[in-house]
Assembly symmetry: C3
Homo-oligomer: 201 residues x 3
């Protein structure tokens, strides 16, 4: 369905742009930026596919993803000043990407007949590990380990999907509501500055 | 056999705790600490399984490991001050974990009919790469590349296993003695501060 | 054919030596240097094989590569001062390694019936990710993202191979000419200090 595909493209694009902007900030050359853009956009799904043995990994057969990433790269090179002035827009796209990747990852786990705990974990891996790879390559402690509620928003989305399914909700509706919950939680987190506690040493 | 399972749980727990303590030191939030705990405990076996194509990787089907990791996480959050005062206990557990993971990794290599050199390498990967992933995610040069004899203790364990097997020792005995050798070497290293040389530039 | 094998050995050796020298500079111990030597030499091919599901990965069945890496390691420990005085020689070997790995990676993609875009990408992964893994483990932003034209030389090699094949050139000739182009481009880059632009922020 076309609506689903548009969401998926927006999600991929926002992950790609976050990689491109981070690489720009570190003054990589234009080709280094391209690699970071690519790796950030496909990293989570790639780690997921490798862990469950779903190879060749998904992006090798997904022309749409590759085109989306390349267009995001060109747009970021051209309009990075404008993008940096639109953090809210980018954050909404990123929240959509996180929610979408979470549910796609979880469903890959179900297809491989893995337990609910593992499916939820695969959702988090899909949603978060692109950013983890991006930060490791740029020599930073991954933002997702330190940031306002992010991996935990993905966790919530995964748990809700199983809750809704237990209520015998059909999968497309359960998926849509779970993604919506991730997006709303992320928006609330950004609006109100919620954080998880750290542990005093 | 129950004794083997207790050793395996102690090994997993000690890897998990080392991840949790390292994450605590870097002031990650509580969810970041959980991810580090998990990744440190399962990292070595995961890399091993991915390299030999043994997918879905082992922890996806191992409820015991997942529970052990989660309990280790909760215990570390509650008692991290006490744990830091018990370095010897933790180091003994860690040595058991290293020995155990070494032999499990090596046996996976044998099952995949790989050469002895590769089996010993897989033992080292299983024993050491959890710590490597932990340190890379926390933006450090992996301790195992700089530390007192650690990967080399795993190497010794792997070589001994093949030596004992060549003497026609049965596998469970060869495994037990090899693990014991790793533990004793690690304890001696910690007691006497042995180090491998570096190379003057 | 013997000529091909000599080139392959020179390429593996030069990747291995680059890992050993980088590890030496960071003052790892002798065993840490061995691991870095190994990981740098086999990293690109390993990531490629894992992504396409070609497991157990190639080096697990390739005695020649393992011996080449070990000999390179010993030679680097013994003669690292001399090696550092021969940057041109090492750079020529490295360019051969890059060209060779590019074409091998691309051909693995063709065997897996992947699209030309993906095959070229696999060529770059094979050629560059050994260095990426080396730099991540040594806690540096990968050189390949910042360096004078390197991943892009691999890209050129991959594109030329497909261009030559479209001209109905036989594969061995297309491969040889593509590798030659990578080597010549890398030599020109080093001679004239060409760089890709970065993007002003």
């Amino acid at each position: 369905m076309i609506f689903k595909e548009i969401l998926e493209i927006l999600g991929t694009a926002s992950f790609a742009i976050s990689g491109a902007l981070a690489a720009l900030n570190k003054r990589l050359d234009v080709f280094g930026i391209l690699i970071l853009t690519f790796v950030t956009a496909i990293g989570g799904g790639t780690v997921r596919d490798v862990l469950i043995g779903h190879t060749p990994v998904a992006w090798m057969k997904d022309q749409t993803a590759i085109r989306t990433i390349f267009i995001s790269y060109v747009l970021t090179l051209l309009f990075h000043r404008a993008f940096k002035k639109l953090p809210l827009t980018l954050n909404i796209f990123d929240a959509i990407g996180l929610g979408f990747a979470t549910i796609v990852g979880l469903q890959r786990g179900l297809e491989a007949q893995l337990s609910p705990t593992i499916c939820v974990t695969l959702g988090m891996v899909s949603g978060c590990f692109g950013g983890v790879v991006r930060d490791v390559l740029l020599n930073e402690i991954p933002l997702v380990f330190r940031k306002d509620i992010y991996a935990s928003a993905s966790l919530l989305g995964g748990l809700l999907f199983f809750l809704f399914s237990a209520w015998e909700m059909v999968a497309p509706l359960a998926a849509t509501l779970s993604i919506l919950a991730v997006v709303l939680l992320r928006l609330a987190v950004m609006r109100f500055g919620w954080r998880l506690p750290d542990v005093r040493g």
